[in-house]
Symmetry: C2
C-alpha cells in the first residue's frame, strides 16, 4: 500500500499557479523563481541584481525558508520590500504561499518580483508558482558535477547562473565539463558566470533579465 | 512582513494527533515514532526489532519518505504489512498522514506499529503524531557531537539507540562524551548501543520496547 501525497499536492499547486500567472500578467509584473542549494549565494545574487536594476524598475523580494527571517532582513536593509515565507517544514515554495505573499505587496507599483525558493536542488523543481521564468544558481564550491547529479533543476531553468566564479582556481572547477553538461541538459539556457560579491558578470545577467522583462510589457 | 506557516500547521497537526492517540488507545496498539538522519539505519533497526518481537506480537510498519517506496518493499519482503507515505516534499510526517495510513491497516489485529519518520534531525521533532513513544537513532559514523548540534531530537525521545556500534573503532567515536551529553539533555532516556546488522544489543532494546508495550495493555 502506498499513499502518494505528491500528485494531489502538485495538482492543487498547478491550479493555483495558473491564478498567480493570470494576476501577474494583469499587473504586468515579471516574477522570477530562483532555485539553488543552501549557501550558493541566492540572497547575495538577489542583492547584486537589485543593485543593477533598481534605477530602472520597482523591485520586491519574496524569501522562502523552512524557518527564520535572516534573508528578508538583508533585503529590507537595502530599502527593498521583502516578504518572508516560513514554510513550516516544506522544502519548496507552493503557489498558495506566493498568493498570500503577493497580497501584502502592492503589485500595481511593481515591475519585478524576485522569489528566493527554499535552498534545495530537488523539491522546488516540480512546483510551478505561476512565475515568468525560473533561474538556477550553482556556486563553484558545489562542484562541476552537479548537473549530472541534479539534472531536473538544470532542465526546468530558463537561465543558469554560475556564482562565486572568483573561487574557481581554488576549487578545481572544470568549467568546460560544466558548460558542456548544462548545454546537453538544456540547450536553450544561457549560462552567466558571476561573482555576486565582486560584481563580475552581473551586468550580463541583469541585461538578460531586463530583456525578459521588456518582452512582457 | 513575515508569513509563518509553522504555527497554524503545528496547531492543526496537534488536534489530529489527539485523535490518533485516542484511536490507538481504543485499539490497544502501541505506536513508536522513529526519528533519525538519512543513512543511520532506521529500516535495518526496524527489521531487527521485528525479528526480535514478531513471535510475540503482531507488527506493522508505516514508512515516511519524501519520495520512493524502497523502504516499505524491504519490510514487506519480511511478510510484515507496510504502508509507504510519500510526503510530497515535506521533511516530516504529520498526524493527518498517519491517520490515512492507519485506515489501511487493521488496527484490531495489531499490537505494535513502527513509524519510520522522514530522515531528518530537525523537522520531525515538533510534530506529535499521537504516538506512544519516540525513539531517536544515531549511528556511529554520524559522530559523537550530534547531541550538541541537534539537541531537540535527543530531548523529545523516550529512548536513544546508538546504531552501528561495530564501527566505533573505525570512526574514533567518543562514547563517553556522547553518553554524557545525552544524559545531560535527557536524563530519563536510556541509551541502547546496537548493531542492527550483527544483532548486537538488539535484545536489550527489544526488551525495553516490550516493557513499554505491556504497560499500555
Amino acid at each position: 500500500m502506498e499513499i502518494d501525497l505528491k500528485q494531489p499536492i502538485l495538482k492543487k499547486n498547478d491550479t493555483l499557479a495558473e491564478r498567480n500567472r493570470a494576476l501577474f500578467a494583469e499587473k504586468k509584473v515579471f516574477v522570477l523563481n530562483i532555485l539553488a542549494s543552501p549557501g550558493s549565494g541566492k540572497t547575495s545574487t538577489i542583492l547584486a541584481t537589485i543593485e543593477a536594476l533598481r534605477d530602472e524598475f520597482n523591485i520586491a523580494v519574496i524569501e522562502g525558508d523552512i524557518a527564520s527571517s535572516v534573508d528578508s532582513e538583508r533585503i529590507k536593509a537595502q530599502g527593498i520590500p521583502a516578504v518572508q515565507i516560513n514554510t513550516g517544514g516544506a522544502c519548496h515554495l507552493e503557489s498558495d504561499m506566493i498568493r498570500r505573499a503577493v497580497e501584502v505587496l502592492n503589485l500595481d507599483d511593481l515591475d519585478l518580483v524576485l522569489l528566493e525558493n527554499v535552498g534545495n536542488l530537488v523539491c522546488p523543481t516540480d512546483f510551478d508558482l505561476g512565475e515568468n521564468a525560473k533561474v538556477m544558481i550553482l556556486s563553484v564550491p558545489e562542484g562541476d558535477d552537479k548537473p549530472l547529479k541534479y539534472p531536473g533543476v538544470f532542465q526546468v531553468a530558463q537561465a543558469v547562473i554560475l556564482n562565486k566564479v572568483d573561487t574557481m582556481p581554488v576549487f578545481n572547477f572544470n568549467n568546460e565539463a560544466f558548460v558542456s553538461e548544462v548545454n546537453q541538459l538544456n540547450p536553450a539556457a544561457p549560462i552567466f558566470p558571476i561573482s555576486a560579491t565582486t560584481g563580475e558578470g552581473v551586468e550580463a545577467w541583469a541585461s538578460w533579465l531586463r530583456d525578459q522583462m521588456l518582452a512582457i510589457q
